[in-house]
Amino acid sequence: MTGAKALWATLASHGISTVFGYPGGAIMPVYDALTFYPEVRHVLARHEQGAAHAAEGWAKATGEIGVCMATSGPGATNLVTGLADAMLDSVPLLAITGNVASHLMGTDAFQEADITGITLPITKHNYVVRDVEELPRIVAEAIRIARSGRPGPVLVDIPKDIQLAAFQGEIPAPHARPEAPDPSPESIERARELLRGARKPVIMVGGGSLDASAEITALAHAWGMPVITTLMGLGVFPASDSLWLGMPGMHGSVAANRAISEADVLLGIGLRFDDRVTGRVNSFAPNASIIHVDLDAAEIGKIIRTHVPVRGDARVAARLLAEGAQPTARPDWAAQLSEWQGRTQMPTDWGAGYAVKAVVDRLRPDDILSSDVGQHQMLAAQLARFEKPRRWINSGGLGTMGFGLPAAIGAGMAEPGVRSVVIAGDGGFQMTAQELATLKMYDVRNVKICIINNSFLGMVRQWQELFHEKRYSEVWLGDSNPDFIKLADAYDVPGYRARTAEELPAAIDAWLADPKSALLELVVPHEHGVFPMVPAGAALYEMIETEPVKTAAPTPQRQATEETSEA
């Protein structure tokens, strides 16, 4: 058996059924050996970044490891954005790269890049395989590292001669998934004590609690405490529950941000207090004692001073905290919360928000919703109502434009029986639009693409509008956007379009009813903002709740520049 075959045998023995990748010279033995392993499906993306995001989409939807693969040099560097994305969002990912033959490594050989050097800070760990006998053990260990503790990406770089070398050893059985440490009884007791005395408590959950949904729901009800879900934690707590306050942070709900600012006890579970969540750090939850439950000790106290640190598994911690519950009536707090909840505004006029709401309102609880990055992402996060975890897939930590479509393809391939809907902007969609070919090639039928076309790099435009006196520098796309329907047609993907609120319902119906994966373009007014908004560097309680009244609207870029040059 060659090293290349040993690689596939190891992947197969770990139950890996699908690998997203792109071949090239330095990984050809692996692609050759693939033909002997029909139990593993390889999905040919159209760019290695697409392969990485598809593997992420797979992992985010299922909770299982995603696998992507690339050749050396340019193939490997194209994976980099996906690895950084997976690192920040704690996605279990295994990346396999080919490299030039061992004796050429370090000589600037053709298509050589020091990929382990390049990915050092954006992987949990990485390896260069230097001995074929080590290959299966390293791959098994890489899978274990990627999945254990706080999950993340691991890269295994395999020189070409190692792929070709004869392997004599045995294919290792998968490692047992290591148990997460239980929180210490003392820390749980201190947390309970704080909760018992709380008059304005709030629970805040993040992406680290995706698998603790049932326990967290029970915990919240046991204590009668309201729950805030971060961008990464949407779906951990059912949106239909009256205790749900929405999302915190820069584009968070009024209720969530006000509750954080007023709370006397904040119980954070599986989150890392990202700056987009906290706003100005020294004004975050200024009155609250903070209990922070996290598996990753390095997150505790990293940004926010923690009064009761609880290190351990979110599921176990939530269960233990619920056990000691003393339900307390807090009528004043409840009344205050419901007043804030009432301040939620729904978009009533035709615009990006209206369009996004119409789409997300049509989601069924099992549907997976992915998004790209920009205004449409924040609108989707604000407006979608998730009842379950792992139905919302987006790039939170890195904010990677181009993430949406390939991630939706990965998620859709992982769960072929489920609708995989993606909302993208006209800007971000074009960063990975070539993955339409993947839909065609594999006849994927459950991916529904919605493009919110506002002719702008909307989110950047919004910042320019608010903070740069409407100098719309390099954000106008209107003149150069393709005809998205024709583009889809070129890949045999059916396309639908709506330009007005009136056209919208029929277009959505036709789009969703299409038996194939289909694309829907929603052409919306150019200047639409996402609110509430906490300006960068401001405290959560300094949020702008509603969109400021618009003054004259200079649209294309040139007009804006002329105006400001007069000023």
Binding site: L120, P121, E141, I145, G149, S184
Partner: protein, 199 residues
Amino acid sequence: MTEARDQLLSILVRDEPRVLTRITALFGRRGYNIKSLSVGSTEHPGVSRMTIVVNGDRGVVEQAIRQLEKLHDVVKIIDHSLEKYVDRELVLVKVAITPESRVEVRQIAEDFRSRIVDVGRHALTFEVTGDEGKLTAFIEQMRPFGILETMRTGRIALTRGSNADIPTHVYHQGATQALQPTLQVEPREERARAVPNIF
């Protein structure tokens, strides 16, 4: 926030390519400045030991430790500020001499139990070992004569007493199978107790 001061960490790592980069990159990325760094092999084959001096408050060091713990290559971390330890550094100092100063310079060196490792017509090179205070004092004594060059190795440290004393403040990440037979590492949960006021 406590005052910034020098903090000594010993980090036992797997002896593999790029491990040093991984560790120093972690310090660099998070903005912790390494004051000195010494690396050498240990009594365990396959395990190297690094002594790192960071200048910062306790918060910085505790955060650095927790980030280090996550690295797969890290076998053990010893935070010396929580233990009694011995530390040493070696410095080579080349001091200018004149016929008039020669005797005095030699006398000072003798007081510091320093050895002369090179003799030139216009300069003497001394080797001094000791803790940081001693080395600094030596250099200050020699400064008036004219220091031509110095080179310090960086500090190295060991916990006092027998190894059995170490575990109270040892942090570690599970070692690879290769290391387990030789190096006794505590089960992972042990670490939770290592920062008493935190966990």
